[in-house]
């Protein structure tokens, strides 16, 4: 069932060989092919623009009012590329190895190598589009080190790299819209994928302004709809980010890869009240100069400044002397949770640790610290009302990125022929843990370079019968979507969509968050179906289906999170090893570190939907490591 289509040859030649063997579409014939791209973030906008430039007839869909709002815009830190402009020993091979290791050996080597190989072209492309990367006085591009790697390979645009890269892709997309080669569908949300004769041939969407359902037919469908961190309710994702597109495709036959692999980012502003709607990320770069600590005493109630040095526990520095405060994200997050669980957390809810800049200010001077991190300190002040130049920041981990997603082969095609998946929506190249500044790289690699090569190969090598939206499959799928919406509106119970989402999020966070255990996961697996049952009995959505109805949008998305959450826990329960962001309490070394089990778990879990209230079936793609030998990560 899982044919990964990894090309032959040495790893350096695989992508070249693959492109050489691909079939091509004659330029004059390209406009006869229609392509649906769902999502207009980095991966979606880049793919839609590039396929438009090639001459295909592209339809691009976004639930936003404009493609420039996609959540890629919020990425702060930077984008990796093996340019070796610093002459500090970087290379494609090194970026490849760092990424495989960083992902704790749960990614496919061939994909990761291709990502590293393409990374240089991405920077070229973005600069040509006018992305204002940071520069040196000589006019050349600046680089910094990011996420604890030992080379300076991260390109950045102040703290707004995601925004600037997205605007580059957005502008390229708008140019194609102006030429008429891309037709943009705003405020349109995908509600189902239409399968005709076993191939993805279209989608059903809801116009979010009028509430009308529409069918769209095409030769191929590309999903670039982002990740599902909002299953936790509180995450750093934008409020509308959801799993509906990939989940509905999953229900139609696309296998779901590694759903339990989620990333919890260590430096976010802690929860302050029960009304909180989302968590805000503070760039990881803060850990370059800030020192993380908690009081040694439990339930300490003195202010930070009144706690003497010898009563402070700089736990990252003492436990990981060689990496200190710069340990990877999963390690930093897990340690913060541990000290808080011991009762040593700080702040109103005890869910926080200090990130202290007093030493940095003393060493570098206030002005230097302000220059480096001023905008982050401002954000912090705006949200918490505290001045981090005077009192230590409080931080706590928050869900941030999902490495899991729809399973795809080397061509980024899912198990449904004709359904391609790019960016965070696929199960990706990051294995069990993503390195900093790699998400932007992967989104753009998929969008600018991989999909525009593999999608045409599919078109050229597949015999596609003509279809149109009056075909039986479209009518049936649309009717199912309509029923589901009508059902949501008809329940007329007592609880708002958000109240269900909060409850679900808490169950998933407590049991399938930073640390997972057999008993916790079983508990979650018992409670999620109960909550889902209550949802379909006691939900209240006011208003009608044929109007702008934000409650209905939410309810519809939550109905999918309620199903995905169960699969996440099922996957986490099945994987009894610890790896990357997935820490199983039963699988740790004597000194409390994650213990991987390569003998039994060196595979990608790809789950198959078997029907409502049926157990999922697991399929396994074995992972072979020929170029980066398996080794246990150590940051001690």
């Amino acid at each position: 069932m899982l044919e990964a289509r990894i090309p032959s040859g040495r790893i350096e030649q695989k992508w070249d060989n693959c492109r050489y063997e691909m079939k091509l579409v004659n330029p004059a014939n390209r406009r006869k092919h229609s392509i649906i791209v769902v999502g207009a973030g980095l991966a979606g906008a880049a793919a839609a623009a590039t396929l438009g430039q090639q001459g295909y007839h592209v339809h691009c869909f976004s639930y936003h009012d404009t493609p420039r709002r996609a959540h890629s815009i919020a990425a702060q830190g930077g984008i990796n590329s093996a340019k070796n402009y610093r002459n500090d020993g970087d290379s494609v091979m090194r970026l490849f190895k760092d990424t495989v290791k960083g992902g704790d050996f749960r990614a496919r080597e061939a994909n990761v190598y291709r990502l590293a190989e393409i990374s240089g072209n991405i920077i070229d492309q973005c600069v040509a589009q006018g992305v204002p990367f940071a520069r040196e006085y000589g006019g050349l591009l600046d680089n910094r080190s990011f996420g604890g790697v030992q080379v300076e390979r991260t390109f950045y645009a102040r703290g707004q790299t995601g925004q600037q890269l997205l605007l580059g892709a957005y502008q390229a997309l708008e140019e194609q819209i102006a030429t008429g080669r891309v037709k943009m569908h705003f405020r349109s949300e995908l509600l189902d994928v239409v399968i005709v004769n076993g191939r993805a041939r279209g989608i059903v969407t809801r116009d979010l302004v009028t509430g009308q359902l529409h069918c769209h037919a095409a030769d191929v469908v590309v999903l670039a709809t982002g990740g599902y961190s909002n299953v936790f309710y509180l995450s750093t994702n934008a409020k509308a980010s959801n799993c509906t597109a990939i989940w509905r495709a999953h229900r139609r036959g696309a296998l779901f890869g590694n759903p339990c692999f989620t990333q919890i980012h260590p430096t976010c502003i802690p929860l302050s009240s029960d009304h909180q709607s989302k968590l805000t990320l503070m760039s990881e770069s803060l850990r370059n100069d800030g020192r993380v600590w908690v009081p040694k005493k439990k339930r300490e109630n003195r202010a930070a400044k009144d706690i003497p040095e010898n009563e402070r526990d700089y736990y990252l520095e003492s436990r990981y002397p060689s990496f200190g405060n710069l340990v990877p994200r999963d390690v930093a997050s897990r340690n913060a949770k541990e000290v808080c669980d011991e009762g040593r957390g700080v702040g109103p809810h005890g869910q926080g640790v200090y990130l202290d800049f007093a030493d940095a200010i003393h060493r570098l001077g206030l002005e230097t610290v302000r220059e480096k991190y001023g905008n982050l300190f401002d954000i912090y002040q705006r949200i918490t009302g505290e001045d981090a130049y005077k009192v230590p920041m409080r931080i706590y981990p928050a869900p941030h990125y999902t490495m899991g997603g729809l399973w795809v082969d080397y061509h980024l095609m899912s198990t449904i022929p004709g359904l391609f998946v790019g960016g965070e929506a696929n199960f990706s190249d990051h294995g069990a843990n993503r390195l900093g500044a790699s998400a932007l790289m992967q989104g753009l690699a998929d969008g600018y370079f991989v999909l525009p090569a593999t999608v045409p190969d599919y078109l050229a090598s597949t015999k596609l019968d003509p279809v149109n939206t009056s075909d039986r499959a479209f009518i049936a799928t649309k009717a199912e979507v309509k029923d589901r919406i009508n059902n949501l509106l008809a329940i007329n119970g007592n609880r708002s969509p958000d109240s269900f989402h909060r409850e679900l999020g808490k169950i998933v966070w407590d049991n399938c968050g930073m640390a997972r255990s057999d008993s916790g996961l079983r508990n979650a697996l018992a409670r999620i179906p109960e909550l889902r049952e209550e949802f379909w009995r006691n939900l209240r959505v006011l208003g009608a289906g044929e109007e702008l109805n934000q409650s209905l949008e939410k309810a519809n998305r939550i109905s999918d999170f309620l199903e995905l959450a169960e699969l996440m826990c099922t996957d986490a329960l099945d994987r009894t090893e610890s790896c990357g962001g997935h820490f199983r309490l039963e699988s740790q070394t004597a000194d409390g570190e994650a213990k991987r089990d390569d003998a039994n778990f060196a595979y990608t879990a790809a789950w198959e939907w078997k029907g409502t209230d049926q157990a999922h079936a697991i399929h396994k793609e074995p992972l072979a490591f020929e170029y980066v030998p398996l080794s246990q990560r150590s940051y001690k």
């Binding site: 009012d65 815009i73 006018g130 050349l140 302050s272 705006r382 209240r540 109007e547």
Partner: protein
């Protein structure tokens, strides 16, 4: 704290709208403005009233989705802050706040506080890009960019397209938005080949969208959450002059964009007039 809210409710673009009064109770200072509205909406759902529609997404001040007027001020009045990042500690117990959508002919109301800003996309489509088809780019370091130019480009590119500048302007002008994109791309060496065409096309597109002209009020800069400076409008006008000067074709058909008094009738703005006239006025 407890607040009184007067919120603009409008069912759809063509429906009649009006202010409706609500009480927001037990608001805490660390809630964001939108979290306060979330809580109010939960109350409304409990009571069986349809919740207030408002746009929002990232809630980090970067996506540009959110924005409405609070007591007549776009994004509520805290400098360099979108309404999603505005904390309730900015207000005090007993305050009465009036919430209404962006008001501009080019931004029709869709529902309650939600407006249609797609006019901005059409301005970008006219020329807010550098044509660099994927695959055709030279090595990233082959063209050095003076740091000052790169910094100017970045300052301009920081625009989030929220529309506050239009809402704050007495003329509902989109010149701060348009000039930001023109300044971003025209400041870079990569943007030079299309510089004049970009400037002309975007300026024409802007005028075709029922936005007014700039009359130097400066309200746009004051409310801009990204602090895009007014000087970029000056840069845009200089680039327009340059573009007209460089243009090889006669006669030049460009609507007047040089700053005019605000009483100008916007219908007149739609009819193209010779550039020479525009330049004199």
């Amino acid at each position: 704290m407890n607040l009184t809210l007067k919120v603009w409710r409008q069912q759809s673009t063509n429906a009649h709208g009006s202010f409706v009064r609500y009480q927001a109770k037990d608001v805490t200072p660390d809630m964001s403005f939108l979290e306060m509205l979330d809580a109010l909406n939960e109350d409304l759902i409990d009571r069986g009233d349809p919740p207030i529609a408002f746009e929002h997404d990232c809630r980090e001040g970067i996506c540009g989705s959110c924005g409405f007027l609070i007591n007549g001020v776009a994004h509520g009045g805290q400098r360099a802050t979108t309404v999603c990042q505005l904390a309730m500690r900015f207000f005090k117990d007993g305050d009465t706040l009036t919430l209404e959508p962006w008001r501009a002919r080019a931004f029709p109301v869709i529902r309650d506080l939600v407006v249609n800003r797609s006019a901005f996309d059409r301005i970008i489509q006219a020329g807010g890009f550098i044509s660099a088809p994927t695959g055709s780019a030279p090595d990233a370091n082959s063209v050095p960019v003076p740091k000052e130019d790169a910094d100017t480009a970045f300052d301009a590119a920081a625009c989030i397209g929220c529309g506050a500048c239009v809402a704050a302007c007495p003329n509902a002008s989109a010149m701060l938005f348009t000039s930001a994109k023109i300044t971003h791309l025209n400041s870079l060496p990569q943007g030079q080949p299309q510089r004049d065409q970009r400037t002309l096309s975007m300026v024409v597109a802007m005028r075709n969208e029922l936005f007014g002209s700039c009359t130097n009020h400066g309200e746009c800069e004051a409310v801009c959450p990204k602090q895009i400076p007014l000087e970029f409008i000056g840069k845009m006008n200089r680039d327009l002059t340059r573009a007209l000067w460089h243009s090889h074709r006669e006669p030049l058909i460009v609507p007047g964009v040089v700053q005019r008094p605000s009483e100008e009738d916007s219908d007149e703005a739609q009819s193209p007039q010779p550039a020479a006239t525009a330049m004199r006025s």
